[in-house]
């Protein structure tokens, strides 16, 4: 049920030379390109097949690495850095704030499927804390007002590319 067509997925695999060493490159690229933001069974099977790996091997990888998901994600997954440099410069308030704005607990999508938020460790933007990351984009030096603005902007479709 992935939003990517078979040929789009195959193109990503070929771009990586169908090289089992680059299985993570492929899985991440496919996941980020798909709207639901996860690797479904069909895709896992396809990757296993093209790389001549067992499906069990692919699932072992999917479950080991935190970035890879096996469940559909919300349209915008807001990742909050919870490592100490960010946490102690205001990051501790982000989860609470998002819960207030979005009215769902951490890790649960909003009823419209638009938002979800959860904590992750350091993303290498520690000098900009507190931060939220959506896909490859980091929103840093957040304040309460900026978080409200960000949600508004996302809702009104300002960040289509994300």
């Amino acid at each position: 049920m992935s939003s990517l067509s078979l040929s789009e997925k195959e193109a990503i695999i070929l771009e990586n030379d169908s090289d089992p060493q680059r299985i993570l490159n492929m899985l991440i690229a496919i996941q980020y390109a798909s709207e639901e933001g996860y690797i479904d069974e069909e895709t896992a099977k396809l990757v296993a097949d093209r790389l001549h790996l067992s499906q069990a091997r692919v699932y072992e990888i999917l479950s080991f690495y935190a970035i890879l998901k096996t469940e559909p994600q919300a349209r915008y997954v807001l990742k909050i850095c919870n490592s100490t440099p960010c946490l102690f410069t205001g990051g501790d308030r982000l989860a609470e704030l998002l819960e207030m704005i979005l009215e769902v607990p951490e890790g649960q999508p909003t009823p419209d499927g638009l938002f979800m938020y959860h904590s992750i460790p350091c993303i290498g933007a520690c000098d900009q804390g507190p931060v939220i990351k959506i896909k490859d984009t980091v929103f840093g030096k957040l304040t309460e007002a900026k978080v409200y603005q960000l949600i508004d902007d996302l809702q009104s479709g300002r960040y289509q590319e994300l």
Partner: protein, 432 residues
């Protein structure tokens, strides 16, 4: 040519308009280290590296010259060169700057290694969070190949064939551990291997393998270009060169800086050129050095501290990755350590019991101190647990969990004692 107090690793970053452009890179001394290397005797290259005293910038601080010499002497059909770009140490964002804004310097260092060890394949394992930078780096690789610095018969030298492949990480802190990283490159789950054997003898696909950090590789061209002695002179005699440091937390000028090893810590914290002092108006209280696995120092004990390998070791601290996380006096050390412990409990790969369960027990115990529900004996339990996890864990992750905890305990024992409810009935005996 290069003097103290001038940028070395970051020199090009602010000048270059197009970070992946080979011609522009060459305009700023790029590839001159490699060009020198290919005219040198291989033994002489190793001598220069020894002289330079570059210590591994990933955190372990092992002399790079020794590591390279070991690999040079290792026997195997083929040797692999691997760059560890899985920077995931909280408080650290230095490799990111090099990868994104001066990728060719990292490539040049890796090509020099390829030349020295007659390697055919190099890998750079870059964290999944840096996906956008992976694209920049690929562009730099493609440009370098077009210009004849990678690929077949590099620089016209017959048989000098060498390629570099980018492998993406996918969000596992433990993959920063070198053997876990190699497993991950082989397309497996990134769990550490039991060592020995040493990776220089039995590494990637069981062949001799060199694994170095991004910043270490970026330093190699500088050493060959300027000479080992000049590099050593940039730092101190226990460690040459400059160091990229990352200031974060309650410090006014958060960010990435390059300092000479040997710079006074006070200057780093308070001078306007660097940290600029507290960002909150509250006095600074403690500093977490080198990442989550590094030790913690109390600011009041660090008046005369010199930021160098020995300068920090003398205070039971360490340079580690170069992270300098500063906290003001509003932060309780126990509160801080709970978060550090949560990080380790989350990132333990689960392969060995002492680390898997130990990190969880440490987290639980610290939470008790933090909520004032600890009982008499818990302090001893915590200390014992820290010792067990350090001594019984298989890899560096488990072995270093105790560093921040023990140093926090040593400097601020009263904060732990305040977490003990004296009136509570002591738990009989030890649980462990």
């Amino acid at each position: 040519m290069i003097k103290r107090n001038q940028q070395v690793l970051l020199a090009r970053i602010n000048k270059m308009k197009q970070a992946t452009d080979v011609e522009e890179y060459q305009k700023y001394n790029g590839f001159s280290g490699l060009l020198k290397a290919i005219d040198m005797d291989k033994e002489t290259i190793l001598d220069e590296l020894d002289l330079a005293q570059l210590r591994g910038r990933g955190g372990a601080a092992f002399p790079l010259g020794k590591k390279w010499r070991h690999l040079y002497g290792a026997k195997g059909e083929t040797k692999y060169i691997v760059c560890n770009a899985d920077e995931g140490e909280p408080g650290t964002f230095k490799d990111k700057a090099l990868l994104e804004h001066d990728p060719l310097s990292v490539i040049e260092g890796m090509v020099i290694a390829g030349y020295l060890f007659s390697a055919k394949a190099g890998y750079i394992y870059m964290r999944g969070e840096y996906r956008r930078i992976q694209k920049v780096f690929q562009e730099a690789l493609d440009n370098a190949e077009k210009a004849g610095f990678l690929g077949e018969n590099i620089l016209g030298i017959k048989g000098f064939n060498y390629k570099i492949t980018i492998i993406s990480g996918a969000g596992a802190y433990v993959c920063g551990e070198n053997s876990a990283l190699l497993n991950s490159i082989e397309g497996k789950t990134g769990r550490p291997r039991v060592k020995p054997p040493h990776l220089a003898d039995v590494g990637l696909y069981l062949q001799p393998t060199l694994v170095n950090n991004v910043e270490s590789f970026a330093g190699i061209p500088v050493i060959l270009r300027e000479g080992g002695q000049a590099f050593l002179d940039l730092g101190t005699k226990d460690g040459g060169g400059t160091k990229l440091i990352c200031l974060s937390g309650h410090i006014k000028n958060r960010g990435l800086y390059e300092v000479n090893l040997g710079t006074p810590l006070q200057e780093i914290l308070y001078s306007e050129e660097y940290g600029g002092g507290s960002s909150t108006g509250h006095p600074l209280k403690f500093i977490h050095f080198g990442g989550q696995s590094g030790p913690i120092g109390a600011v009041q004990n660090l008046d005369a501290c010199i930021y160098s390998y020995k300068g920090l070791w003398d205070k039971d601290l360490s340079v580690g990755s170069g992270a300098i996380v500063v906290m003001d006096d509003q932060v309780s050390v126990v509160d801080y350590l709970v978060q550090v412990a949560a990080f380790f409990a989350h990132e333990s790969c689960g392969k060995c019991t002492p680390c898997r369960l130990g990190t969880t027990r440490i987290l639980e115990l610290l939470k008790k101190f933090n909520t004032q529900t600890a009982v008499t004996g818990d302090l001893e339990r915590l200390e014992k647990m820290l010792m067990h996890v350090t001594n019984l864990s298989a890899c560096g992750l488990g072995q270093s969990v105790a560093n921040p905890m023990k140093s926090g305990l040593a400097y601020f024992p009263e904060e732990f004692e305040a977490g003990i409810r004296e009136t509570a009935v002591s738990v009989k005996g030890g649980l462990w």
